[in-house]
């Protein structure tokens, strides 16, 4: 009997604890790509401000569906919603952090960072028009590099992914043929090649198949030391992927002119700009309770300000100050209140 009492009291305490914590909890869902960043921010935010942020990385599609249904406080998507769709659903969106993708390859005798590629050449490779590594188009960009007469095997992501969207958006901008035949989405109909599941699957194919080329997130290159390519950006400069390069892409966007931040960071101007830069968007409901939206805004504002080093430690580029200012102005304009 005593045991029963004790356990009843214990249970009651646990319930009280859960309810008390539950009062200061935020839920978000969506993009798997931004998950490491939100999770890292959330852990520190809970320590500093005693607000729990639960983020479920169920994928961008799920995130958009959940925020539309109003079951979460914020949704995250790797692909921005078109302003028309956004308005029709009564949503607003803003960017979180910048990152980038790069090409990786398996070429005997060619080291990391040695190969240089341009947008149009990359598009032709992924269209299946350039079939051999010693093709004159590639050789032109890489004088002094001895390219083998290997067949090119294209490796792409098999699963739907924000990386695919960013990469294909870039190819659509630099190649009219890509835009017409393939286009950009989280999954596309690839003209050629094999698909690996996730960054890991893709990387394992590239590591194994001589003559292969694929694209992965920048963070993944740092982890795995795959041979990465340098790219010719829209200013005609040859650049290596770097956080600064991704941030430069964001810095060259005039967000005050871009409606609902509907700007994709690929192929932007700037001498140091990395051409395949990307972004993740957070989506809020306009008609959500003011408290909820404010709590979300506070969390991300805290992240923009205090989470920069955390972001950099996992290869996300913090948003430039000008972009953060634009986001705050956007909140005020769209919701009528800011923090």
């Amino acid at each position: 009997m005593k045991l029963l009492k004790v356990s009843a009291i214990f249970l009651a305490l646990v319930l009280v604890g859960v309810v008390a914590r539950g009062q200061a909890a935020l839920t978000g869902a969506g993009s798997t790509w931004v998950y490491p960043l939100v999770a890292k921010w959330a852990a520190q935010y809970d320590k500093d401000n005693h607000v729990q942020v639960n983020y479920q990385s169920i994928g961008s599609g799920g995130g958009i569906a959940q925020i539309k249904a109003g079951t979460v406080a914020f949704g995250a998507s790797d692909m921005p919603l078109k302003p028309d769709d956004l308005h029709a659903a009564g949503l607003i969106q803003f960017p979180t952090a910048v990152a980038g993708a790069d090409l990786v390859y398996n070429l005997p005798g060619v080291q990391a960072g040695q190969l240089i590629l341009s947008g149009p050449v990359t598009a032709d490779i992924f269209l299946g028009k350039i079939k051999k590594w010693d093709d004159p188009e590639i050789a032109k960009l890489n004088s002094g590099l001895k390219l083998p007469a290997l067949n090119i095997t294209v490796v792409h992501r098999a699963d739907g992914s924000g990386t695919t969207f960013t990469f294909c958006d870039y190819l659509s901008k630099v190649s009219p043929e890509w835009k017409e035949k393939v286009g950009a989405n989280t999954s596309v109909t690839w003209p050629t090649g094999v698909g690996g599941k996730g960054n890991e699957g893709l990387a394992s194919y590239v590591q194994r198949i001589p003559g292969s080329i694929g694209y992965v997130e920048y963070a993944y290159i740092l982890e795995t030391h795959l041979a990465y390519a340098r790219m010719v950006n829209s200013d005609g400069k040859v650049v290596s992927p770097s956080l600064e390069g991704f941030q430069d892409a964001a810095a060259h966007v005039d967000f005050s002119k871009a409606e609902d931040f509907y700007v994709i960071l690929t192929d932007h101007a700037g001498a140091n700009t990395w051409p395949i830069s990307g972004c993740t968007w957070q989506i809020l409901r306009k008609n959500a309770p003011k408290d909820t939206n404010e709590a979300v805004m506070k969390f991300f504002d805290w992240g923009f300000e205090h989470g920069q080093d955390m972001a950099k430690s996992i290869s996300f580029g913090p948003l430039p100050q000008s972009t953060v200012a634009a986001i705050k102005a956007y909140w005020k304009k769209e919701l009528g209140y800011s923090i």
Partner: protein, 333 residues
């Protein structure tokens, strides 16, 4: 098993039980058990029905947009233009499973015959246990093994396949392609290994219940092990063996993770088995999380509906086949 062979033990009617103080308790317990059993049965049937209805309902947007016939025969799966067709996935699902059956069935039969007929007693148990352990390995492990271990090894054999099988006129087309180690054939082989334990343990179980009088008479007549296996054991257990084979086929059709890892995931259909493809489950696993529009999600669910239809058709064929075989057996006896 062919249920008709097994006579159910006669249940003692309740009223014949001796009257006692505990009877009313027996009655209510019996009553509850009866209701619980009925409820469980209805729950399962209801869950299946509800699943099919829910999937059909959620695919309504795609059914409305593409119809049935057009969706089935269209090869165009393009999330960018939002046009969707299931043809390549249906064909790849069927082909990869067919390869798995082609390789898996004879091996399962051999293993079962080995355990039931050939192996000395001391080795029977370890071999049987090893095969059952194969069934306990999660499919994702098969996928990883296929990707990391099998595919690289297979890639070194592929040039040989290219040179020898690929050179044969006609069917050579099936065996030409870059030596990547992944593709339809790899998926089929991994599937074959995965379904092997299911088929072989069912076959072994039924082989062991063949009356030893039949077996021993045949041996006494001078039959070889092969003749006993083929002419005595197999005919005696035919319907159960077919049932086991179809159970394996059902698993092969629905297998998701292992196939996704090794099939190469290309939405275009190619003639060669060494080229990448994509099955219905692999496309669902790959694209569902990031499908952002209603039509896209709905088309993926529609694919799921088609997979259910394919699996049910296979089961239906299995039942028909078993019935026909059962009749034949009856006629022969």
């Amino acid at each position: 098993m062919s249920g008709s062979d097994l006579a159910l033990p006669k249940i003692q009617p309740l009223s014949e039980k001796p009257k006692s103080a505990g009877r009313s308790w027996h009655l209510s317990a019996d009553f509850l058990f009866h209701k619980a059993a009925v409820f469980a049965a209805i729950l399962v049937a209801g869950a299946l029905f509800a699943t099919v209805v829910a999937i059909a309902y959620d695919s309504r947007v795609a059914i409305h947009a593409f119809g049935i016939w057009k969706f089935l025969k269209s090869s165009d799966w393009n999330p960018v233009t939002q046009t969707f067709g299931a043809f390549p996935f249906i064909i790849s699902t069927l082909i990869s499973s067919a390869i798995a059956m082609l390789l898996g069935v004879p091996v399962s039969f051999g293993v079962a015959v080995f355990i039931a007929e050939i192996a000395p007693a001391w080795i029977k148990k370890p071999v049987a246990t090893a095969i059952e352990l194969l069934a306990a390995i999660p499919s994702i492990i098969y996928g990883l093994w296929g990707l990391v271990v099998f595919a690289p090894a297979f890639a070194t054999i592929e040039p040989w396949i290219n040179d020898h099988l690929g050179a044969i006129p006609g069917i050579g087309l099936l065996f030409q392609g870059p030596p990547m180690g992944i593709g339809m054939l790899t998926a089929g082989i991994v599937l074959a290994i995965m379904i092997l334990p299911y088929m072989s343990s069912i076959m072994r179980d039924v082989f062991l219940v063949v009356p030893s009088s039949l077996r021993e008479s045949a041996y006494a007549m001078g039959a070889t092990t092969w003749e006993v296996a083929w002419n005595i054991i197999l005919p005696y257990t035919r319907s159960a063996v077919v049932g086991g084979i179809f159970l394996g086929l059902g698993r092969a059709l629905g297998e998701t993770m292992a196939v996704t890892f090794v099939i190469g995931n290309s939405n275009t259909l190619s003639a060669s088995l060494l080229m990448p493809g994509a099955t219905i489950p692999s496309v669902l696993a790959n694209e569902f999380t990031e499908a952002t529009t209603k039509l896209y999600t709905s088309s993926l669910i529609y694919l799921g509906l088609i997979l259910i239809a394919v699996t049910l058709t296979v089961r239906f064929c299995a039942v028909l086949l078993i019935r026909r075989l059962g009749r034949k057996e009856g006629a022969a006896a």
